[in-house]
């Protein structure tokens, strides 16, 4: 993994808005009525475009924008067997309970009802080829590809088949490890998306923090098993409290989970640092040090708002972290994805998202001037 040796590198969290044609194709795919060749071609073109856009915005560590995926987490349903239809209600989040007039998601979850196995690994291979091809055409430092964590799959697809949660998690880890390995074998950085490690409010609203800590400790352990054989320096982990503009009034503090996060066998931790509920948490690093071989990718851009951060403010945020942890241990990032799911209209206008990534790289340049 390249780090900020002589300047602050920049990256983002992975997903970017998809073109409208591809959004329609993803919906058709979900309904089982897509022309595979047309879909593949649309993915290839979309990846090429978002890769160019990231390079134009000056981002150093780029991704495929998750163009081929219907969402950062549920894409596994297109690739694996073992899942039923959307039918299980989600519990109300603590925010929804506190603010009943604010709006409900009314999302239904698909349970795991049979053995989880690969049915279409070629989807992974196509993603890799598309990203390799697109990246070879632009200037960049490094390439990353996202994949979901076992714990997040377990949250989105509740277990109704395996004997225990542990057995389910271990199966998911074994299945995911093939995807993880393929991504790192391609020479990409693997980013494991782990909202499961922070999102008590969504998934376990009725657990105490202590009980939640036990859940995520197991999730980290299982994720580590899925990563075995992959050098930590090729892996980054993204942790967040959900991508949306929600009240976030019941988010577990970073301080309450950071010790568990740092047990992950990864070379970088991407964590929210820009939105107002978490902005103060840069101070956590005054008390907690990163283990050797791990860098921090704090969000210095808020992915939930169309307001474009001023580059001077981006620089100030970066410098704040750099002064605590050391400039070479910071890569400037975004709080969460700009297109975590394809079905919803992106919260941030796609052109504005690119302007925000430009503000990120401009801010990193200003921080670099001050820090070097």
């Amino acid at each position: 993994m390249k780090t900020s040796i002589d300047r602050i590198l920049t990256t983002h969290v992975g997903s970017l808005a998809r073109p409208p044609e591809l959004v329609s194709l993803l919906e058709a795919q979900r309904q089982g009525r897509v022309d595979p060749e047309g879909f593949d071609e649309a993915c290839r073109q979309a990846v090429q475009k978002v890769v160019e856009q990231q390079a134009t915005a000056g981002i150093s560590i780029i991704s495929d924008g998750e163009q081929s995926k219907p969402s950062f987490s549920t894409y596994v349903r297109e690739r694996w067997s073992g899942f039923g239809e959307d039918q299980l209600p989600m519990p109300l989040t603590l925010d929804e309970r506190e603010f009943p007039n604010w709006g409900y998601r009314n999302r239904k979850l698909a349970p795991c009802i049979g053995p989880v196995t690969w049915k279409d690994f070629s989807a992974v291979e196509k993603d890799i080829t598309n990203l390799s091809d697109a990246a070879s055409a632009v200037t960049h430092e490094e390439v990353f590809m996202t994949s979901v964590s076992p714990g997040t799959v377990a949250n989105f697809f509740p277990n109704q088949y395996y004997k225990s949660r542990t057995e389910y998690l271990e199966t998911l880890a074994g299945t995911l490890s093939r995807e993880y390995k393929a991504i790192t074998d391609a020479g990409f950085l693997l980013q494991v998306d782990c909202p499961d490690l922070a999102l008590r409010n969504f998934w376990f609203p009725d657990l105490s923090i202590e009980e939640f800590r036990r859940v995520i400790a197991e999730n980290v352990e299982v994720m580590n098993s899925a990563l075995s054989g992959i050098p930590p320096s090729q892996v980054r982990m993204h942790v967040c409290w959900g991508a949306g503009e929600t009240p976030k009034n019941h988010d577990v503090p970073l301080r309450s989970i950071v010790d568990i996060l740092l047990k992950a066998d990864v070379g970088a931790l991407s964590v929210v640092g820009a939105n107002g509920q978490h902005e103060h948490e840069w101070r956590v690093w005054e008390e907690v040090d990163l283990p050797d071989g791990m860098v921090l990718i704090p969000g210095v851009i808020d992915n939930t708002t169309n307001i474009i951060e001023h580059p001077d403010w981006v620089a100030e945020r970066i410098i704040r972290y750099a002064k605590v942890l050391g400039r070479t241990r910071i890569i400037a990032g975004v709080d969460c994805g700009f297109g975590t799911g394809s079905s919803a209209k992106p919260a941030v206008d796609p052109a504005i998202a690119m302007a925000k990534l430009r503000a990120l790289s401009d801010g990193a340049k200003r921080a670099t001037q001050e820090l070097w």
Binding site: T246, P247, N275, G276, N306, I308, D312, W313, D349, A351
Partner: protein, 378 residues
């Protein structure tokens, strides 16, 4: 009564979501439906009391009526004054709308031009607002540290209602200042702090997108003088000016920098000046105050809560923002505020008011943390 000598006081920018009942009545009135005046008055009093009580419960110390009776922070004026009988005009596209056309969509803002002599046609709306707030304040168990009421500034008035009648823009601005003075004076005479809502002093992109900064500064300068002129009979301690770049969650990437206007803002008459400081476009501007000489007695009210987002700021984030300003300006010279209004116009959709109260609660908790850090023992 708490003062800024022993703690960080808290306030907000004026508007909060209207009660559902009043919202419907206001929308009916805008649509031209007849609403019985006693019903309207009752709904206003109820809404003002509720807005005030909610602010106090959240822990806000400098409070107001939440702009409850008003259809919009500036638009309300056409219901009170003559001179606006013509058809509305489409606004010119601002710089952000031009750069991001897909974000801008096809919706266009409108302005109600001034097409006839401006005179009061219904000053009772002002006296009613004053009476409602006085009654609501009287109902509180404890006197708040301060009570304010908003009014539109002369410059914003002329931006929102372009001149199509007076011979020159100068004559128009002077007339507006003369007419609005009556409202300003009435608010001050009631013992309230007058807040002049003045996006005109910052929002170049919305109002004069094609004007160079230097030329636009001349307009700002003229508008600053109009504030001085219109508030001349009000003690400075009772004047505060709210400056912002518009309440919306738009890109804001053409916002004039505070640094380019701060000299003019500090010429404003009035003890208090509010500035945007919580959203990502402006948060870095606390640095401006490091090398800006602030006149003695001036109190700055930085936004430490972002009014455009549902995300509730953590009290520690709020405290950090406050302390940053206090360390530069002196803790007695800072009141913690909100970037802009939570309900700058009555709209069929509205934020969940509970989220607004939670954000104001976070403001108060953050101010308490900052107070502890800045004063020690409190």
């Amino acid at each position: 009564m708490p003062t800024n000598a022993d703690r960080i006081l808290t306030t907000h920018s004026g508007s909060v979501p209207r009660t559902l009942r009043l919202q419907q009545i206001l929308l009916d009135r805008v649509a031209g439906k007849e609403v019985d005046s006693a019903t309207f008055d009752d709904a206003c009093q109820e809404a003002v009391s509720e807005a005030l009580n909610s602010q106090v419960s959240a822990g806000v110390t400098v409070v107001n009526d939440g702009d409850q009776s008003k259809t919009g922070f500036a638009a309300y004026i056409t219901q009170r004054l003559t001179g606006f009988d013509g058809p509305p005009e489409e606004r010119v596209l601002n710089l952000e709308q031009r750069e991001f056309p897909e974000w801008a969509g096809t919706r266009r803002g409108r302005r109600q031009p001034c097409t006839g002599p401006i005179e009061w046609k219904d000053f009772s709306m002002v006296t009613a607002d004053v009476a409602h707030l006085q009654k609501a304040v009287a109902g509180l168990d404890q006197k708040p540290a301060g009570v304010f009421m908003t009014s539109v500034s002369p410059g914003t008035f002329t931006n929102h209602n372009p001149n199509r009648y007076y011979k020159t823009d100068e004559e128009y601005l002077t007339t507006v200042a003369d007419v609005m003075k009556r409202e300003y004076d009435a608010i001050a005479q009631a013992g309230f702090i007058l807040q002049l809502d003045s996006p005109d002093l910052a929002a170049r992109s919305n109002n004069y997108p094609d004007m160079e900064l230097a030329d636009w500064r001349k307009i700002v300068e003229r508008n600053v003088e109009a504030v001085t002129y219109a508030t001349r009979d009000i003690p400075e301690e009772q004047v505060r000016v709210h400056v912002c770049w518009g309440a919306n969650a738009g890109p804001h990437n053409y916002d004039t920098q505070l640094r380019d206007i701060v000299d003019l803002l500090l010429r404003l008459r009035g003890k208090y000046l509010t500035v945007v400081a919580a959203n990502g476009r402006h948060e870095f501007e606390w640095q401006v105050w490091k090398d800006t000489k602030v006149p003695d007695g001036k109190v700055i009210i930085p936004g430490v809560i972002d009014s455009t987002t549902t995300i509730i700021e953590h009290p520690e984030t709020v405290a950090e923002r406050i302390v940053r300003f206090a360390n530069v300006l002196g803790k007695e010279n800072v009141i913690a505020g909100v970037d802009c209004g939570f309900g700058t116009s009555v709209s069929p959709t509205r934020t969940d008011p509970k989220i607004v109260w939670a954000k104001l609660g976070s403001l108060a908790q953050g101010a308490a943390i900052a107070t502890k850090k800045l004063w020690g023992s409190n």
